[in-house]
């Protein structure tokens, strides 16, 4: 196999994991945009999504589509519920209290899953049936193709929703100025719930795609993709939706290429090193902006 094919294959791998990071990063960035908090339990929603898929398939014997829908439904309800119970009472509290609460929720979800499913990893076969294709000497796996298609559809529809619908513009209005949004008649609480619902549904999809790739379940499985997606969101500019997508893809590409050509062990260090570098040069992230007051 030629060097070019090899690079292309790595790029495609990077796009696959990058688009999963992007999907998760969207949840971080949308929640940050609207609730001005980092939801550190977001990574664990991915884990819940993956386990829910397993429960749907192995315990309820649902067809794959049914298990996917079950997983999305559970994560959506969980995300909205967490906001209502844990974050909403703290809306006017200081950021540190909210941050600690989010970390607490993260531990809670991990411990619950440990309690229910145990620490031994559970194998979970991919739900993607076909083996993939080979074009010009480059082999692309089935899960890669599915991941790229699904994430593209998700990101395109989210972009359309946010920019072209009435609810989407209400969401942007709330993330910019809650008081002014309220004066327009927008229900701020419902809008925040909707944001958590969308973010968690995307996390469920990411969790399913992730577990189909790695085919093993454990209670901490959401931690690493979660933290990387958070890095992606910051890299792209936290609060910016296109930034989260871009940040995720870039992160995936860097990770995949440095694993292949520099060092597997060092790839995470390189990823986080680049974050540090970008933030030194542009503290607001690639597409983030620092808002100036206009008089």
């Amino acid at each position: 196999m030629g060097i070019l094919q090899n690079i292309l294959e790595q790029v495609i791998n990077g796009l696959r994991s990058g688009s999963i990071y992007a999907l998760i990063a969207l949840g971080y960035t949308m929640v940050y945009g609207i609730a001005k908090m980092i939801n550190f339990a977001h990574g664990d929603i991915i884990m819940v999504g993956a386990y829910a898929l397993y429960v749907g398939l192995a315990i309820f014997h649902l067809p794959a589509v049914g298990a996917v829908l079950l997983s999305i439904a559970i994560c959506t309800i969980l995300g909205v519920g967490i906001e209502r119970i844990a974050y909403k009472p703290l809306r006017s509290a200081q950021p540190l209290a909210v941050l600690i609460t989010a970390i607490g929720v993260s531990f809670l979800l991990q411990s619950l899953s440990l309690l229910i499913f145990g620490a031994t990893p559970i194998p979970q076969a991919s739900i993607v049936g076909f083996d993939g294709i080979k074009i010009g000497g480059i082999s692309i796996s089935g899960i890669t193709i599915v991941t790229l298609i699904v994430t593209t559809i998700c990101m395109a529809s989210l972009t359309w929703f946010i920019n072209k619908t009435k609810l989407g513009s209400a969401m942007r209005a709330v993330s910019e100025d809650k008081g002014a949004a309220e004066l327009m008649g927008i229900d701020v609480n419902k809008t925040i719930s909707l944001t958590f619902a969308i973010g968690s549904a995307l996390a469920a999809i990411a969790g399913i795609l992730y577990v189909c790739q790695y085919q093993s379940l454990k209670p901490t499985l959401g931690a690493m993709p979660g933290i990387k997606a958070f890095v992606a969101a910051v890299l792209g500019g936290i609060g910016s939706v296109p930034g989260a997508m871009l940040g995720g893809i870039i992160l995936g590409l860097i990770e995949s290429l440095s694993k292949a050509y520099i060092s597997t062990e060092l790839s995470d260090a390189i990823v986080f090193g680049i974050l540090v570098l970008v933030l030194l040069i542009k503290p607001s992230g690639l597409l983030g902006k620092i808002r100036k007051e206009k008089v």
């Binding site: 209400a170 100025d177 004066l183 327009m184 008649g185 206009k294």
Partner: protein, 236 residues
């Protein structure tokens, strides 16, 4: 019967009492001015009326309905729009998106479209810049947008908080001309202003506010001639 009736309103920020039992009313078709120095509590009153702040005690009635405890997002559909201090347009949204959000609670698409055309007629500059981001507008244009956005809800009464703040003198006159037009179009106006002279020149009646209390009220023309008002607010 007054359209808006505020009775014995008290508002506190924690331990600090900002509004110490004030009463005022606005009748249909009137232009009412609330004037007073910075920190007198003018903005607090408007925020409490439209539900952004909760009152400690007192009563706010709109068209006979008690709205004291009503959530902020329920007010606009009753027919009360609020142009907040500092304009607070959505900077990252286009001018058109801002205007459409003003009509967020309205359902009839055709009526919304008609209102939009009416607003474009009144503020041609907003139509010229409809696809521009609101954050790129000048201060005066943002004020027009904030007013247009409030008018998109087709309000019976419009509450304006410091509409002339930070604007060049030309824009200030223009903004007050627009307020007169809005009033002539049948909308009741409650305006809060530091620019007492301008506010009194367009108002029917006015209330003078000092550290959370109404110290004076009456016909705007009379207040313009009042010695203590002249001294404290008109710089004469």
């Amino acid at each position: 019967m007054a359209m808006l009736q505020v009775t014995d309103l008290e508002v506190s920020y924690g331990m600090i009492q900002a509004i110490k039992g004030i009463s005022f009313d606005v009748k249909q078709g009137e232009v009412i001015a609330l004037i007073g120095a910075n920190g007198a509590g003018k903005t607090t009153i408007l925020h409490t009326v439209t539900g952004l702040l909760k009152s400690k005690s007192g009563k706010i009635e709109f068209e006979g309905k008690d709205i004291t405890k009503l959530a902020g997002n329920k007010i606009v559909s009753l027919g009360m729009a609020h142009v907040p201090e500092g304009r607070r347009v959505f900077a990252d949204l286009s001018v058109l998106e801002n205007l459409r959000l003003g009509a967020y609670t309205r359902k009839d698409k055709q009526e919304i479209e008609d209102t939009l055309q009416m607003i474009y007629k009144r503020f041609p500059r907003l139509e010229e810049r409809k696809s521009q981001l609101a954050g790129t507008l000048s201060g005066g244009e943002q004020q027009m947008l904030a007013m247009g956005r409030a008018l998109m809800s087709h309000p019976k009464i419009i509450l304006m908080d410091e509409p002339s703040m930070g604007l060049s003198p030309i824009f200030v006159s223009e903004i007050f001309d627009i307020i007169k037009e809005i009033s002539a179009g049948g909308t009741t106006v409650l305006v809060v202003e530091q620019n007492a002279k301008k506010a009194l020149s367009i108002a029917n009646r006015a209330y003078v506010l000092e550290t959370g209390k109404i110290v004076l009220n009456g016909a705007a023309k009379e207040l313009l001639e009042n010695d203590s008002v002249k001294k404290a607010y008109l710089g004469e």
